[in-house]
């Protein structure tokens, strides 16, 4: 088939297309390479943490030592040498920052290149392209700036780097951190708990609708550095927050590890919308370099009518391994998972979700759109579990795969465990190809081959793109196009 041949031929050009692949020359404060109890202590000391947190980290580290690296996912990579990674790297700064004006201008320049609206002034001045979004930017291992703090504080919303939360709101952190993803949960969660360096903390008090989108941008910059951030969001009764997360990394020919943990706690009548656009460097067309993205994300709907929705657009990373999950404990609670996962060239993605129904009348919706191009492998892996007490619980899953060319693969692995006699579980799956006919039709109307592909794929992803906040949806659409460049002739 002509497209397939051209796909293979054209794949070579894609590495020029990663526009976030610049490396910033910023002086960094870095821990010695490798991992040991001393490194854990080093990180904790750098962060001036209380004793209880150091103890928790050490327990996690010791537990991690007893664990085996998991191998069940449909991904293949050489064994990671955990002693060959830097676990702490912070841009050097003279003193503690008091306001945005003191942020290293070079760093601000980096964020500008990434299109992050870091400068509060710009946002407030309504500068074109600036979003009405509060941003916490995480650069390697530290949070650099959090915008819009004052306005949020007025509403009682806490949005700050997690290390700051440890210092200023220790009770909240102590109560909730590890309560959804304990350090014993899995290999990478244990590792993260031992060495996590930063991430965001959000607390939405009872009855508050967060007045703006909250957002965190993660960027890995330093070489051979792992990024282990931890995000913790707590939505009290009747509160609401929409949270966005964006990720990029420079092009490097080595693999870099990103092992994050995200915990969401949703109480009675509260809702969290969590959206991710993940565009870590995917490696080159031969599979050299790129980010290993091994992430544990989990939400606990702890009260009645609690609602969580995960929306993700995963276009980057050499390997993606993540299953944002929902524990639907409260009666009538709702879990949603909307996902677009694109794998091109040599990328491997094994992603999906887990919906654990415990309460009565809980319901969950899963819409997964997997796109494979080049020689990529894309696996959807999803678990739906209906507990004994999950009376009248419902799940509806739609899992669509789209193939571009004939050297890639799409796999669907649903796990269903039902202990409830009254639960209903529906699963639909389709696999389709972008047809030569569709491409020709678009081209005949004047679209280039790449524009045609982008249009067709965006159409395929539409239901999920619609779930993203407006500004993000536009970005995501472009990203879908960019990440498939070179997949057609």
């Amino acid at each position: 088939m002509a497209i397939a041949r051209e796909t293979v031929e054209q794949v070579a050009s894609v590495s020029d297309k990663y526009k976030y692949g610049f490396i910033s020359d910023i002086e960094a404060d870095t821990a010695p390479i490798g991992l040991s109890e001393d490194i854990v202590r080093f990180i904790s000391a750098k962060k001036e943490e209380p004793e209880w947190l150091l103890e928790w980290r050490l327990k996690a580290y010791r537990y991690w030592l007893t664990m085996e690296e998991p191998e069940w996912a449909n991904v293949h990579y050489p064994k990671i040498d955990f002693q060959d990674i830097y676990y702490y790297s912070a841009p050097k700064q003279k003193d503690k920052l008091k306001s945005l004006d003191e942020v290293d201008p070079e760093l601000l320049e980096v964020y500008k290149k990434l299109g992050i609206p870091l400068k509060e002034q710009e946002v407030l001045a309504g500068v074109e392209g600036a979003y009405n979004v509060a941003v916490d930017a995480v650069f390697d291992s530290v949070s650099v700036a959090t915008t819009f703090k004052a306005r949020l504080e007025k509403e009682g919303v806490i949005f700050c780097p997690i290390s700051e939360a440890v210092r200023d709101h220790p009770d909240l952190v102590k109560e909730y951190m590890g309560s959804v993803v304990p350090y014993t949960d899995n290999y990478y969660a244990a590792l993260n708990s031992a060495v996590f360096t930063d991430g965001s903390f959000c607390y939405i008090p009872k009855g508050v609708r967060c007045p703006m989108e909250l957002s965190t941008y993660f960027r890995i910059n330093a070489a051979q550095t792992g990024q282990f951030e931890r995000t913790l969001i707590i939505a009290e009764d009747e509160s609401y927050v929409s949270y966005l997360e964006g990720c990029t990394a420079p092009m490097r020919d080595e693999n870099q590890l990103h092992a994050a943990v995200v915990e969401l706690i949703i109480k009675k009548d509260a809702e969290i919308k969590y959206s991710t656009v993940q565009n870590w460097y995917p490696g080159d067309e031969n599979g050299v370099g790129g980010i290993y993205n091994f992430v544990t994300k989990r939400a606990a709907c702890r009260g009645e009518n609690a609602k969580v929705s995960w929306t993700q657009v995963e276009t980057g990373s050499a390997i993606t391994w993540k299953y944002p999950s929902c524990i639907l404990q409260g009666d009538n609670s709702v879990g949603e998972f909307y996902s677009i996962a694109i794998a091109n060239n040599m990328q491997q993605a094994d992603t999906g979700t887990k919906m654990i129904h415990l309460g009565k009348n809980t319901s969950s919706t899963i819409i997964s759109k997997g796109i494979s191009a080049g020689k990529a492998q894309n696996t959807y892996r999803g678990l739906v579990r209906m507990g004994r007490k999950a009376e009248n619980a419902r799940n509806h899953t739609v899992c669509d795969s789209l193939l571009i060319g004939d050297k890639c693969g799409a796999h669907t692995v649903p796990y269903i465990e039902n202990q409830s006699r009254t639960a209903t579980i529906e699963h639909e799956a389709t696999t389709s190809k972008v047809s030569e006919e569709q491409l020709f039709y678009c081209q005949q109307r004047g679209l280039s081959e790449e524009e045609s592909m982008a249009l067709i794929v965006n159409g395929f992803c539409k239901e999920v793109l619609q779930k993203l906040p407006m500004e993000f949806a536009v970005e995501a659409q472009k990203l879908v196009g960019i990440s498939l460049e070179g997949s057609v002739g």
């Binding site: 030569e436 020709f440 239901e463």
Partner: protein
């Protein structure tokens, strides 16, 4: 405007066009008729540049330029439009989005400024009205769930918007009811001008009552076996193609 000289083309390794000669001047409408499988659609695909339709010999000049060197989208931007015999479904892409993307892509290729959403909406409203198409069709995904006739009307809508110089209509009449046929034909006639030309593929003389051709050709087994004026269409309708090959 279009000169086809001794055109041979293969599809899937099989020769389908076996030496087509046809010249279409600006302002002219040519009808092509012929039995099923004769190669009519193949001819339209070759002219539009579809992948897999390989020209093995011959030449096609469009506005004096070698057409066969151009990609399908370049041909589109230069004014070639093909109304498909079987319009293609594009799930999830709203017709309005599709039309606007196509319209702007062509403008961009010609170095003209792109139009914004508001301007475009104004433009398309005029066209939908002319063709009696309901606006809600613009919100639906391209051709998805459209009835046979709706698909054909949608092709005419796209053509009216893009205002091509060379219209290739492949059985646009099939599937249209009598009223729709008239409206679609009016759409085509509205575009007729001394600068434009059309190649109209059809099985039925009826269409040619509305879109009156200057020439009628019979394509059989990959060749044009007979050409004439519009009376040829009537003759074919009466006697069929069998009489023609017997003659």
């Amino acid at each position: 405007m279009l000169e086809i000289k001794n055109l041979h083309a293969t599809v899937g390794g099989k020769e389908i066009l076996k030496g087509i000669n046809l010249t279409i001047k600006a302002g002219e409408v040519h009808a092509v008729m012929g039995p099923n499988g004769a190669g009519k659609s193949t001819l339209s695909y070759v002219l539009a540049g579809r992948d897999g339709y390989e020209v093995t010999s011959g030449e096609v000049l469009y506005k004096g330029e070698n057409l066969l060197d151009l990609s399908p989208d370049e041909r589109a931007a230069k004014g070639i439009f093909l109304a498909f015999q079987y319009p293609v479904e594009i799930p999830g892409v709203a017709s309005a989005t599709f039309l606007k993307t196509a319209y702007n892509a062509q403008r961009k290729a010609r170095g003209e400024p792109e139009v914004d959403a508001m301007e475009f909406l104004k433009l398309i409203r005029v066209k939908t009205k002319e063709l009696g198409i309901k606006d809600d069709m613009l919100k639906r995904a391209v051709n998805v769930g459209f009835s046979g006739g709706e698909k054909k009307r949608n092709e005419v809508l796209q053509m009216s918007l893009l205002e091509p110089d060379l219209m290739l209509l492949d059985e646009t009449d099939s599937g249209l009811d009598i009223d729709a046929l008239k409206i679609a034909a009016e759409g085509v006639n509205r575009l007729r001008s001394p600068e434009r030309a059309a190649l109209v593929i059809t099985h039925y003389q009826r269409l040619l009552d509305y879109i009156v051709p200057d020439f009628v050709h019979v394509l059989a087994d990959g060749k044009i076996v007979k050409s004439g004026d519009k009376s040829l269409a009537h003759e074919l309708e009466e006697k069929g193609y069998a009489a023609l090959s017997a003659a």
